[in-house]
Amino acid sequence: MRPIKTSQTSVLKIENLTKSFNGKPVLVGVDFEVYRGQIIGYIGPNGAGKSTTVKIMLGLIDKYNGKVEIFGQDIANADVSYKAKIGYVPENGEVYDDLTAQEYLTFVGKMYGMTENAIDYKAKRLMDKFGIYESFTSRISSFSKGMKQKLLIISSILHDPELLFFDEPLSGLDANSVMIVKELMAQLAAEGKTIFYSSHIMDVVEKISNRIILLADGKVIADGTFEQLKEKNEGTLEQIFNELTGFNEHEKIASEIVSIVHEGHKS
């Protein structure tokens, strides 16, 4: 199962990770190792345990079984300093939106140990590159969804991290911004940064990931490059996804939905 370039440095290693909430198993033995410069597309149906894995790696959930190593350190015994080299875009866009973009970025940068001047200089230009410079001193609560997403991406790369966790980073972005972010990921990875990327948009995952990990029912059911996945299964990533997760009823369900929609009109 272990694919591609094993000679490289390991950035992230998960061994037999299990976790249950209130007796309900969420992860039942997850194993994988991630190497420097990889873009991992981490995919799976809703409730497969993707977010839980990411949260465990970020240290948001403790009390799990198994071993999680980041930058060669077991995070269960490590202090928090490993987080300084991680950037994170949260799935639900959690942000202190009473603050202005400037205040928020300054705060996050300082948390990562940057100086105020460095943050300000960098943040302004990043905002400019993402086309939201004029909102630098506006409150985040007044931002559109796309603007907020751009801000979250900026806040995740501001401190030049080695490892990035992107949870649906493209949600709410327009087509042009999507291209920027995709290219950004490719270039960062080429430089040797590692990107751990989860999304439900299969086309994007297919195109930008150089390795895909498919999680279902709390365990890894496929792991490899898109080409490797295609050797065993036919079609696009979307079709492979459907096949591997045992789902092939979309046409039937859709037509049932259509017929339900037509019901119940009185007037």
Partner: protein, 534 residues
């Protein structure tokens, strides 16, 4: 400005934090951000580019607390029956601190964004917890300071330095005790429940606490008997359960030399319980933070509730289908939106209890008091508060739905909402109170008076709607820091209700006046509900 001062003062203690293994610089940064956000918890709908800091709202609420503080002064200076006086004083202090802690600061303790934003950064849990705690302490210090400053100065002049020093020290203890107590209660709940159920439960605890403080207050008053203007205290075991009495005891002991065993016991409790609870709190912080994660999870499927009752009521009192649907929508919002319940339900508890408190106080002085039923008018005091709150929702952005729906008569949205308020909250409460009053007096001839009171209430609902929120959609504004402080309005509405009660009294002096009054009220109701919403 005030926040800058708070942080400067905190800087003096930076060594202490280092000693405790807390990263002071990081903690200070978190605090600075949190304090800035607090300042902005003001109406935030159309805020735009580069606006000025508006710390006015918080300052104003501090001024209001200072005003409330004046109430303490008579009890501080009236005599030297300290056990009684100081119990009242500490009862008030605890009431104010606890309610504001619950209403305004639960969000700080339970902010789940902290997890995703702070814990993903290289910051250790200890520092985050410390920042949280200090944040609450700063807020409580400002609030307590505003509340107690004037009474403290007065007591210094009237009672001397020992008294005021003792007061100051005890107030600090009380404040710490309240903070820790609230936190501990949340911890306990978080341990056993998760997801949505947990949020509901916290909601009910908040409501329960607020109401029980009001009831507890009555217990203090009834722990003392007024005999010939001499207040005497009779030891009962349950006095141990009333914290304000603990804190009053040291005054009795140190200033009056009262060395009864129970005074010593209370004093010991006043000193040991707050300190002890802090240790318990610190011990449980890690598990608290872990359990906080549960807030973000949703527990499995919930059972589908039947809502026949709402449907029947909707059919009965709404004419169009649109209105029926809007009625059911508002009914659900009123019974399910947590923030709304949190802001409104305590005051409902208050309006249930108030008439009885009044009744018992009246009966104690004059056992046959014929007009005691007028106390029910106090129940109508909830109306302006609830109507005011119907504008707000924590998910106010969802109100775009009103705009896109094909509703011809926009006013029917509010009519349906007010009807839902009547059915869901007003009628159950007032009917309950009326039934209890009828049972106590066992006098069926009061029935017409009760009907008149209810009709006044329903009429008053339209009047309040007209006065307070004519133009907004319901559930369409964000809750904010300052909206509770609509004191002027509350006083005006109190007078209006008093006016109604007085008219009722005048009317009932004549033999069939009440029936006439009912007819007049009925017609005014009919006209007002028709006119206002057409």
């Amino acid at each position: 400005m005030m926040n800058a001062i708070s942080l400067k003062i905190l800087d003096k203690f930076s060594r202490l934090f280092h000693l405790l293994g807390i990263n002071y610089i990081t903690m200070r940064q978190i605090l600075a951000i949190k304090l800035t956000m607090d300042q902005r918890r003001v109406p935030t709908i159309f805020q735009d580019v580069k606006q000025k800091e508006n710390s006015n709202a918080f300052l104003k609420s501090l001024l209001l607390y200072a005003l409330y503080g004046l109430v303490l002064i008579p009890f501080l200076i009236m005599g030297d029956n300290y056990l009684f006086q100081m119990s009242i004083v500490f009862g008030m202090v605890m009431f104010i601190l606890m309610t504001s802690m619950i209403a305004d600061f639960s969000t700080v303790l339970l902010d789940v964004r902290d997890k995703a934003i702070l814990n993903t950064k290289p910051v250790d849990q200890k520092t985050i917890s410390a920042a949280k705690m200090i944040h609450v302490v700063i807020y409580m210090t400002q609030l307590t300071g505003a509340f107690i400053l004037i009474p403290l100065a007065v007591s210094l002049f009237v009672k001397g330095i020992t008294f005021s020093l003792l007061l100051l020290v005890e107030i600090i203890f009380v404040a710490l005790f309240i903070i820790v107590l609230t936190a501990l209660i949340y911890m306990l709940i978080l341990r056993y429940f998760d997801g949505e159920r947990l949020k509901d439960l916290i909601n009910y605890v908040q409501i329960f606490l607020s109401v029980s403080i009001i009831v507890g207050y009555q217990f203090i008053a009834h722990s003392f008997q007024f005999v010939d203007y001499v207040v005497s205290f009779d030891w009962q075991w349950w006095h141990v359960l009333i914290p304000p009495i603990w804190f009053a005891a040291p005054f009795e002991w140190l200033l009056l030399g009262n060395q009864e065993w129970y005074i010593m016991l209370f004093t010991a409790l006043a000193a040991l319980i707050p300190i002890g609870s802090i240790f318990v709190y610190i011990k449980f912080i890690p598990s608290f933070e872990r359990n906080l994660q549960k807030m973000m999870q949703t527990s499995g499927s919930t059972k589908i509730r039947k809502h026949r009752w709402e449907q029947t009521m909707a059919k009965l009192i709404c004419r169009t289908n649109h209105e029926k649907t809007l009625f059911q929508f508002a009914y659900k919002m009123i019974s399910q939106e947590r923030e709304f319940k949190l802001k409104v339900y305590p005051s409902l508890g208050f309006s249930i209890i108030m008439p009885f408190i009044l009744l018992f106080n009246v009966i104690q002085t004059d056992s046959n008091a014929p007009y005691a039923y007028l106390a029910i008018y106090f129940c109508n005091l909830m109306i302006p508060n609830v109507i005011h709150m119907l504008k707000f929702s924590s998910k106010y952005k969802g109100s775009w739905i009103y705009g896109v729906l094909p509703i011809a008569n926009r006013k029917s949205i509010y009519r349906a909402t007010l009807k839902a308020f009547i059915v869901k909250l007003y009628l159950p409460i007032i009917l309950l109170i009326c039934t209890i009053f009828l049972t106590i007096f066992s006098d069926i001839s009061l029935l017409p008076d009760m009907i008149a009171i209810i009709l006044v209430g329903i009429w008053y609902i339209v009047i309040c709607y007209r006065l307070i929120n004519n133009q907004h959609y319901p559930f369409s504004q964000p809750f904010s820091f300052a909206q509770n402080t609509n004191t002027a309005m509350m006083i005006v509405t109190m007078f209006v209700i008093g006016g109604f009660a007085f008219v009722h009294f005048l009317v009932s002096l004549t033999s069939f006046g009440v029936y006439f009054y009912i007819i007049v009220l009925f017609i005014s109701n009919w006209i007002s509900w028709k006119k206002v919403f057409s």
